[in-house]
């Protein structure tokens, strides 16, 4: 089944088409949000929310971009919402520590991508922590391009920014990372 047929069947609300769509994109969406959110359970939750949103708003999909780009765009937006909520919770926790005691766990949590080999685990943990501390747009652009290996054009379509803007985000992200990682090298 080609993409046009799949979209048509999705618009008709056919469940097998939706199942096929999920099976085709679940790994890519999950891997992207996992790298952005750095938390397996939140990544699964966000991936699910992405597909629910796809199912609910497929009729508003105007086919101006590819289906994959549209799905990624939703996934990135959902991941951003999660990051914002997480930051708000952490901010509230720093003001009123007794209000949400479980939040301390998420602040202290150390993320390690399961795809990283044992020899690189220590370094990867530090780099992920530094990436997690980047401003949201830099974090997303950097993760999609440098961690996941996407092309600039793809990320530009997903983030709805020009390639120049993506390049600028990436360069600023690298500068920030260099500053953040100096503590690791010189401590």
């Amino acid at each position: 089944m080609n993409e046009k047929e799949l979209i048509l069947k999705l618009k008709l609300g056919e469940e097998p088409a939706f199942k096929l769509l999920v099976q085709n994109y679940q790994d890519r969406v999950y891997y992207s949000v996992l790298n952005i959110l750095q938390n397996a359970s939140e990544a699964e939750d966000t991936a699910q929310e992405t597909f629910i949103q796809v199912f609910e708003s497929i009729n508003s999909f105007k086919e101006e971009s590819s289906l994959a780009t549209w799905i990624y765009r939703i996934a990135v937006r959902k991941a951003l919402e999660k990051i914002r909520k997480q930051k708000n919770r952490q901010r509230l926790h720093s003001i009123v520590p007794w209000w949400m005691p479980s939040e301390q766990k998420s602040i202290d949590a150390v993320y390690l991508n399961p795809g990283i080999s044992n020899e690189h685990k220590e370094k990867a943990t530090i780099i992920y922590k530094a990436i997690g501390a980047l401003p949201n747009n830099q974090r997303i652009a950097f993760t999609l391009i440098r961690v996941q290996g996407m092309k600039y054009e793809e990320v530009s379509d997903i983030m709805q920014l020009s390639i120049k803007a993506i390049e600028s985000l990436l360069s600023r992200a690298k500068e920030n990372l260099k500053n953040k990682l100096q503590n690791y090298y010189y401590s």
Binding site: Q26, Y31, S117, A124, R146, K174, K178, N179, Q182
Partner: protein, 97 residues
């Protein structure tokens, strides 16, 4: 302390090129469809319960209103002299002409 060099950063980031792709957890679609079903049931329930709750609240409001109105008419119906007489009797006074 000076920031690390571009070379050092690139060396560090090279570890991502050897990273294995992580797939979605097993039974992802099963869990997703269960969640969608649960969401649709709770949505349906919400849309069913909402009018029922509104009607109940309206009925309660009308009932309380009718009770108050009934009480009001009862007060109006009682002879106004009765109240004055009762007050006078309490103070051992006589109000008859």
């Amino acid at each position: 302390m000076k920031p690390i060099s571009n070379e050092q950063l690139e060396n560090d980031l090279a570890l991502f090129s050897t990273m294995e792709v992580v797939n979605a957890p097993d039974f992802f679609y099963t869990r997703l469809s269960a969640r969608m079903e649960k969401d649709s049931i709770s949505n349906e329930l919400r849309f069913t319960i909402k009018p029922i709750l509104i009607i109940c609240a309206l009925a309660l409001f009308l009932f309380m209103n009718s009770l108050l109105l009934k009480e009001d008419t009862n007060i109006v119906k009682t002879n106004p002299n009765q109240n004055i007489e009762a007050l006078a009797a309490a103070y051992d006074q006589n109000i008859s002409n």
